[in-house]
């Protein structure tokens, strides 16, 4: 058996220890990881730059479109406002109570032997109901019948146009004086009639400008 003598044992051991120096290995590992991380960072930077370039393109597109869109939004809001306001104004116009047709109807009911002395009327705010108080005198052999004729005629005339018509005597008194009708002396009666009704069921006479021609014509 051959005998081997290692006279460089210490040097070889030292060299081996240098090779597996943990600090050196750690630095190598650290450097390796650093390179990998740097590459990964570079890839991310590249992707981010691409996204930013895409963002710039989209922003350019948006900058071209934005003024038109803003203008369109402003115009749409303005038009919506105009449409809504016009609708409310149309409703205001259409829902008005028109007095001229009412005056015409009242005039049709007054017989030659009757005279109206006062008319007071008003429109209620809530449901557009109308109330009237009519005062007058009637002269006839039966003045109360003449007043009743007027009341019935008024009820009939108003019922043709309006809803929920009520025509009632508030007062009907014989007058002490007499008057001449066609040369004959007739007794008189004073009356007060309360009238109430609702809405315009028939006439829609008032034209909004540019919509239709006049329809409200009193005779």
């Amino acid at each position: 058996m051959a005998l081997h003598l290692n006279l460089l044992h210490e040097e070889i051991l030292e060299q081996r220890q240098r090779h597996r120096d943990p600090l050196k290995i750690g630095i190598l590992l650290l450097a390796g990881c650093g390179v990998l991380l740097f590459l990964y960072y570079g890839w991310n930077v590249y992707q981010t730059l691409q996204v930013k370039a895409q963002l710039s393109a989209v922003e350019r597109d948006w900058a071209k479109v934005e003024p038109k869109v803003t203008e369109a939004q402003k115009r749409a809001a303005e038009l919506t406002n105009i449409i809504n306001t016009t609708r409310v104004l149309d409703s205001y116009i259409d829902n008005r109570f028109l007095w001229a047709p009412l005056l015409e109807k009242i005039s049709r009911c007054v017989a030659p032997n009757a005279q109206l002395t006062a008319i007071e009327g008003g429109v209620q705010d809530d449901d557009k109901g109308v109330t009237l108080t009519i005062q007058g005198v009637a002269a006839a052999h039966e003045p109360r019948s003449a007043a009743e004729d007027f009341r019935e005629m008024l009820l009939e005339q108003l019922g043709q146009t309006y809803r929920e018509v009520k025509v009632e005597f508030k007062a009907l008194d014989d007058a002490e004086t007499v008057t001449k009708v066609d040369g004959a002396a007739m007794p008189m009666a004073h009356y007060t009639i309360a009238v109430s009704f609702k809405g315009n069921s028939a006439p829609k006479p008032t034209p909004a400008p540019g919509r239709s021609k006049r329809k409200n014509e009193s005779s």
Binding site: L23, Y41, A72, I82
Partner: protein
């Protein structure tokens, strides 16, 4: 596993290496990759936002175009209604206009007085004011009154008569005294 036996010096160096590695990771993620990712995500969010705006803008523009066509009638009518009210305070132009209207109906004496001005109840009429007027006709006959009221209601569509009072003129039963309470809506200028 046969691990090499480390002496104390080597253990110190190994610990130092590990600390260095941890510090490297910390710096990398905190000061490099983290902000970069945030920037990336912000850019992507901004792209999505702009793209959404661009997509919806097409719809909004077509909606506005459709609305423009639909509103043509309303716009014309709105302009005509606005044109009914001249520039200036209504108290300056309304009474003369009423006087002129009744004069055209052969009612010479007509006085219009402003009673009050309020805001309309409707939210859509926020830019308008409601004026309440009292119109007095000291002497007219019933037929002329009827025609004048018809003319008033036809020529002033934004005028609404709320009360009407007709009384005989004393000693002249062929004439009546008239009081008309009316309201108008006028655009604020």
């Amino acid at each position: 596993m046969n691990l090499p036996k480390l002496n104390s010096d080597q253990i110190k160096k190994l610990a130092l290496s590990v600390m260095g590695f941890v510090f490297l990771l910390y710096v990398y993620f905190t000061f490099f990759l983290g902000p970069l990712n945030k920037s990336h995500q912000a850019a992507e969010a901004a792209i999505a936002d702009r793209q959404h705006k661009i997509d919806t803008s097409k719809g909004e523009m077509s909606t506005a175009a459709n609305l423009e066509r639909q509103a043509r009638d309303a716009t014309g009518r709105f302009g005509a209604l606005k044109a009914l009210s001249p520039e200036g305070a209504p108290i300056a132009w309304f009474p003369p206009r009423i006087k002129s209207l009744f004069a055209d109906q052969k009612i010479d004496k007509a006085v219009a007085r402003l009673e009050s001005a309020t805001s309309p109840k409707e939210a859509e009429l926020a830019g308008w004011t409601k004026y309440n007027w009292l119109i007095e006709l000291p002497q007219t006959d019933y037929a002329s009154l009827g025609q004048a009221v018809a003319a008033l209601e036809n020529t002033e569509p934004l005028l609404c008569i709320t009360k009407l009072s007709i009384h005989l003129v004393p000693d002249q039963p062929q004439f009546q005294q008239i009081a008309i309470a009316a309201s108008t809506v006028v655009e604020k200028r």
